[in-house]
């Protein structure tokens, strides 16, 4: 007899994004068609670290970790309450937080000090500020989480990989709950120059995924954190269930340093694997939250991959990109978008791909132009696929329901 598989529910969400502080600001403003991009950048300019951290805590964290801590505070508060008590033994609660780059602005600051004033000027905080696991460490330390805790690094797929791995930890019985997500604060001199040099970022400063005029992504910053729990344990403690992580699929193109494989073969496989992991098939998908970066290559290969994975269903399912509202949050993108996906399903609404106006040959899915549209499929839970693809060819896909 096959043992009953452990199910994973989402009981708390928190976000910092260019649309403001909180998961509700993210979904409500995106669903209303509002865009948080200004002057070609998706800055989380409403984020004020000292609203969440003491001065001492704030100066011991890079911005990416600060935003992770703020998001975790919201998610953990929603799930476990604000009292600071964990509903599980602390060593049964993990913390897996992804990032594309880590504390890049801290690294740049310290490099400047090294060059200008020599090695003695480099701060003893430099390493803990810039390390890629800093967000996971900061969240675990603040909330006393003693289970599996680490960073996940897979460029723009890191947030989705983190959530998928967190679900796996629970499914394997290694944790009862995992605080998970992604964080990125890479609007820095080196990162913006480097993305621009490879012509990955938009020269026009406009994020319009799947539109014929798209010319690259708009770099954004922020964080998204979710609390995942084993379903029976969550039910036993009377937790509010926001949604469920039904499945996870991950593959690698093994093709090119930065360009996606044009046929989207491995991206499609990741989608298929996520659905199979959920025990579902293409016809069950009600909504796709696309990776949809607004780069010429991604949006084309992703469309091809969706058609390959979903078959005839691809033509009927709404496909929209959160990046049209907030830009590309890199290692935070998959986490912020998973939150947006669950909250969209809860509202039974497909938010729009803002700015989409001009079709391109072959890019002919329903990208939800203009305004949000209702997802119509009875009254039961809805199912979505959330894609995340990263430089290096990393593909991570989540199958979510709410």
């Amino acid at each position: 007899m096959t043992p009953e598989r452990r199910r994973i529910v989402i009981t708390g969400v928190g976000a910092v994004s260019p649309l403001g502080i909180g998961a509700q600001a993210l979904i409500e403003r995106w669903a209303a068609g509002e865009c948080g991009i200004e002057d070609g950048l998706g800055r989380a300019d409403q984020f004020e670290p000292t609203e969440f951290l003491s001065k001492k805590e704030a100066r011991r964290m890079d911005r990416f970790a600060q935003m992770a801590v703020a998001s975790a505070q919201e998610a953990i508060g929603q799930s476990f309450g604000d009292g600071g008590e964990l509903p599980y033994e602390a060593h049964r609660v993990g913390c897996v937080v992804g990032t594309g780059i880590g504390g890049l602005s801290s690294l740049e600051d310290q490099q400047r000090k090294l060059i200008e004033s020599g090695p003695k000027a480099v701060s003893p905080l430099a390493v803990p500020l810039m390390m890629g696991n800093a967000a996971s460490a900061a969240v675990a330390m603040r909330h006393g989480l003693h289970g599996h805790a680490y960073g996940v690094v897979s460029a723009c797929a890191a947030g989705a990989h983190a959530i998928g791995d967190a679900a796996r930890l629970i499914r394997a019985g290694d944790a009862d709950a995992v605080v998970t997500g992604g964080a990125e604060a890479a609007i820095t001199g080196v990162a913006t120059a480097a993305f621009s040099a490879m012509e990955a970022t938009s020269a026009s400063g406009i994020s319009r995924p799947f539109d014929a005029r798209r010319d690259g992504f708009v770099i954004g910053e922020g964080a998204g954190v979710l609390v995942l729990e084993e379903a029976e344990a969550a039910a036993a403690r009377g937790a509010q269930v926001l949604g469920e992580v039904l499945g996870y699929g991950a593959t690698c193109d093994g093709y090119h340093l930065t360009a996606p494989q044009p046929e989207g073969t491995e991206a499609a496989r990741a989608i298929t694997l996520a659905l199979a992991d959920a025990g579902l098939s293409a016809v069950d998908v009600d909504y796709v939250n696309a990776h949809g970066t607004s780069t010429p290559l991604n949006d084309r290969s992703e469309t091809v991959a969706l058609k390959a994975a979903l078959g005839e269903r691809a033509a009927d399912v709404p496909v929209s990109s959160t990046k049209s509202a907030i830009g590309h949050l890199l290692g935070a993108a998959g986490a912020v978008e998973a939150i947006a996906t669950v909250e969209a399903l809860r509202r039974r609404l497909a938010p729009p791909t803002i700015g989409w106006e001009e079709a391109e040959e072959g890019l002919d899915l329903d990208y939800v132009p203009g305004t949000a549209k209702p997802i119509e499929n009875g009254d039961g839970p809805l199912v979505a696929v959330s894609d995340s693809f990263g430089f290096g060819g990393h593909n991570a896909v989540l199958c979510l329901s709410a």
Binding site: S54, K55, K56, E57, A58, R59, R60, K120, A121, S123, P124, L125, P128
Partner: protein, 82 residues
């Protein structure tokens, strides 16, 4: 330069430094313990950088490992600078 260092000067440097590192100014006194102020080993290394910049005095981990109060840090710097 070193011979002109006064206790008052060093006290100001240390107090300002600790505030810069996140300590509340109204909690500061010579008698306050580093433990009560939540000043840890990383803070002491940063404080040592400030002191070295200001007075050219090098404080290593071993120098401060037995120091308990803010006053003892000040006296140590004054003694080393003198």
């Amino acid at each position: 330069m070193a011979t002109d260092v006064s206790t008052e000067q060093v006290e100001k440097t240390i107090f300002d430094g600790l505030v810069e590192l996140g300590t509340e100014r109204d909690q500061l006194s010579r008698e306050a313990t580093l433990e009560d102020l939540d000043v840890d080993s990383l803070d002491l290394v940063e404080l040592a950088q400030i002191v070295e910049d200001e007075y050219g005095v090098e404080l290593r981990g071993d120098d401060v490992k037995d120091v308990k109060t803010v006053g003892e840090v000040i006296d140590l710097v004054v003694a080393k600078a003198g």
